[in-house]
Symmetry: C2
Subunit: 148 residues, 2 copies
Amino acid sequence: MTKHQMSQATTCPVARSVEVIADRWALLIVRDAFDGVRRFGDFQQGLGVARSVLANRLKSLVEAGIFQVQPASDGTSYQEYVLTPQGQSLFPVVVALRQWGERYLFGPHEAHSQLVDTATGQPLPLMQPVAVDGRTIAPEQARVNKVV
Amino acid sequence: MTKHQMSQATTCPVARSVEVIADRWALLIVRDAFDGVRRFGDFQQGLGVARSVLANRLKSLVEAGIFQVQPASDGTSYQEYVLTPQGQSLFPVVVALRQWGERYLFGPHEAHSQLVDTATGQPLPLMQPVAVDGRTIAPEQARVNKVV
DNA sequence: CAGTATCCCTCAAGATACTG
DNA sequence: CAGTATCTTGAGGGATACTG
């Protein structure tokens, strides 16, 4: 089954999301965007990705509605890549990945980058599980892919 | 920069998580596991993935500590692949991907699979944002990748 | 049924050089 | 600086056949 056939067929939102953003670079580009990066060169330097690859990914992400291109804010004639509302809605995905990584992929005393509240400047531990209607839901209480 | 070099260098939890699970199949395998799938053949049939690919992915996921292999519960001599606690902790990631997909990758009347509360049998809309210390946090209030 | 082994092939990724 | 064009390489994925 090809990717395209799959995207036509699947009724699973997880699968569709995976097709769009679950690749090596897309999520890191989005992460950097949340950190304020907007320019091609800054993405490129920060990620260490080949220019051609970055150009392709950004194009895909624009087509997917995650980024939009707009004139540079500093008056130069270049472009900026900024998250659309749809792209900003990926925040919980990035946070969930971050929380999981912090918890399982680092040693107890190993340093890692942290989430910071831009209002207070304080680090946000952010270790609460996803909440449903004000209560916490554990994996055992739900089935992820039940078709109804 | 190779993948391995990257895994040694990065202090970003998002990047480490991406290395482990952000590929085309891994997250779908985890999704199916949350839906109760445990056997090789069931994963294979459900995903439509090549056997060899599935075997590789499952091996990687076991090595990463996301799945563990255990004797089949039905008395046959085969194995079952079940999520470890670390693997179950990917629940928020899968849910976040699901929510985003539901919201942006489906038409208003297009059917999709849903999350179901196994206790009540009711579908869970699950559209609340990630909570921090009991309050809701919006993307604008935080930086994802600030190193502190 | 549950994998493993093999072959083939496509595409993603990197490097480099070039253009506006 | 911000891309585009081109080439090469290698890993990932599919199909098939084989084994316990």
